[in-house]
Amino acid sequence: MKLPWQASPRPAPRLFVAVFEHEHDLLAAAAAARADGYVVHDAWAPHAIHGLDNAMGIQPSRLPWICFGAGAIGLLGALFFEHWTSAVDWAIDVGGKPPSSLAAFLPVAINVMILIAANAVVSGLFALHRLGPGRQARPPVARVTDDRYALALDVAAPRFLPGQARGLMRACHAIDIFTWEAGS
């Protein structure tokens, strides 16, 4: 039986893959390919590359919203719970302090806010990119976690021209070019 996160919802697309030796070659190739109207499926790199988001046209991540929502739930939930336990359910007089005191409740509430928001950010990262225990990594070349950079263009995209794409990638110093079934 497959667990929910093990199911693959998307069919594997056919991709045109170019492999590079330098990050600036990948950066240039991604920007040039997009400028020529190709659809950049994804790229692979051993490290984060500054400026590649723009070159590939990646939209800003939704994570900040997840973080904000989870943080708001944590903050308000903790404040409500502190008020309910300290002033409603069983109010106990401790040294004459008021049963419900926002100033005294804030340290715990801020901690709970950060705790829940941080867990939501990490869970969000895992969920958005389907990372999890038991998941297999399927990059086009294994060395992308070491010293290779790869760019994949969508073959099925309407403006894809194999010959010209090949020429463009060669001009960007691609050291290897091949067609690849993602997930194979």
Partner: protein, 466 residues
């Protein structure tokens, strides 16, 4: 096609290919150099210390808190001193990582991983103390607001001691998350170069299927920035909450509004000093002198000058307030620190925290690894003394002279403290043996800093294509 930037010094003093970076950082993990006999000696010593600590804790739990040197006057001593000490050490990791990430300090990449690991281990050491101080640690869950058969009788959310429970647990969780998320791409690198089937399976499971996809990298970087953005206020909050354990009481020497910034500055001071001392040793032991360069040590040393000077300012203002504030109890508490029976702890604290680090103003001292190591260790010792001065020296002469006392730690307390060092270094030795002590992905990202702008590249490539 690369040109040196006229604006900033390169982080590393030689050019490195990504392949060379992977190989250099992974070498100690793959049983070739780095973790030779020295590692075994260090690990055995740490394990022995941990064993001593476990025996002491076992004896204490079986017998009771009476095995400690506490009495009715000094009700808090070694346990809380060591708790605050370890919490302080645990602050540099997240601060180096998170604050320097947000301020885009590229030199952080070589030291952030070990500093984050230190944070997690130091908080583990700190968490032992409140737990065993309960006397019946199996009832530790009583500090959590759980429904219970006593009413339910809820915990007191207006008490700083309860804030501590939340602060320490949140800090440990968020620091561990930050550390682990940072490790994922490196775990994937290790998975893909592992030769043994077991190593590949373990690193593979921990890497969670990371493939290096740049769409994932984009979200990953957003996640790191968000975690960093939350970790920085959390560092301040955690130290502040620890300080309110004292400041919210009415003991002269504790009841001061300067305590929150005082504890935050002290924590950063001891944390950076620890990172400095450990980096001096680790860069040699791991063969990583070209990755953790003199420039890294120089930057860490400069931070120590700043924090040391802040500590000096705080000590001075504490005394100024005590002697001009018009409160005779406060004035007595501070006179007792400087002239009482524990004066030697006070002067050790001043010497190590304020006087000695001033040597780092000289560039020659910042280039000398022996000086850096000695200053790092001296600051740690002095910061430990500072907690002793704040806690024990404020308590031992209380409002009633007939109950004045002199506190001495028992052998059980000393053994427990030795045990926490054992735990810390056991974890650290295992960490450098099985996980990359320097972030492979982050070092690669800054090694190629001298890169032409994408727009120029695109036009060049397109011309070539036509």
């Amino acid at each position: 096609m690369t040109a040196p930037s006229p604006l900033r010094e390169p982080v590393f003093d030689r050019a490195m290919t990504p392949k060379a970076i992977t190989d250099d950082i992974c070498r100690p993990l793959e049983g070739r150099g780095g973790t030779g006999p020295g590692w075994w000696v260090g690990f055995s010593l740490a394990a022995a210390a941990l064993g001593i600590g476990l025996a002491a804790i076992g004896y204490e739990i079986a017998t009771g808190i009476g095995t400690w040197g506490l009495d009715k006057t000094v009700g808090w001593a070694f346990d809380i001193v060591n708790f605050v000490f370890w919490v302080g050490i645990g602050h540099a990791g997240t601060l180096i990582s998170a604050l320097l990430l947000l301020t885009r300090q590229r030199w952080r990449t070589s030291v952030s991983r070990s500093a984050e690991a230190m944070t997690v281990f130091a908080i583990m050491c700190a968490a032992i103390y409140p737990l065993i101080h309960m006397g019946r640690p199996w009832m530790a869950f009583w500090v959590l607001p759980l429904p219970n058969a006593r009413g339910p009788l809820w915990v007191n959310f207006r008490s700083p001691l309860l804030w501590d429970v939340f602060a320490i647990n949140t800090y440990l969780t968020v620091s561990a998350l930050f550390w682990y998320v940072g490790l994922i791409p490196d775990l994937a690198t290790l998975r893909d170069r592992a030769r043994g089937r077991l190593a590949r399976a373990i690193y593979g499971a921990l890497a969670l299927g990371w493939s290096g996809s740049c769409r994932a990298w984009s979200t990953y970087e957003a996640a790191c920035r968000l975690l960093a953005g939350m970790a920085v206020p959390l560092v301040v909050l955690t130290s502040t909450v620890v300080s309110t354990d004292f400041a919210a009481s009415v003991i002269p020497g504790w009841h001061a509004t300067i305590f929150p910034p005082y504890f935050v500055a002290g924590a950063i001071h001891s944390g950076f000093a620890t990172v400095l001392a450990i980096m001096v040793v680790a860069r040699g032991a791991l063969g990583a002198r070209h990755l953790i360069t003199r420039r890294h040590l120089d930057n860490l040393a400069k931070v120590v000058i700043v924090t040391s000077s802040i500590m000096g300012l705080i000590y001075a203002s504490e005394h100024y307030t005590a002697f001009t504030g018009g409160n005779p109890l406060d004035a007595f508490a501070f006179r007792n620190r400087a002239l009482g029976p524990y004066a030697w702890t006070y002067y050790t604290m001043l010497l190590g925290n304020v006087v000695l680090p001033q040597i780092l103003w000289w560039p020659a001292a910042r280039r000398n690894v022996v000086v850096l190591f000695v200053v790092g260790v001296a600051v740690d010792l002095a910061m430990w003394m500072e907690r002793f001065v704040i806690i024990v020296v404020s308590l031992h002469r209380d409002f009633l002279p007939s109950s004045w006392t002199i506190y001495k730690p028992t052998i059980i307390e000393v053994a427990t403290f030795v045990g926490t060092f054992g735990l810390f270094f056991c974890c650290f030795f295992l960490f450098i043996r099985f996980l990359p002590a320097i972030s492979i992905a982050e070092v690669k990202a800054v090694a190629g800093y001298a890169r032409p702008l994408p727009r120029e590249l695109v036009s060049l490539r397109k011309e070539a294509a036509e």
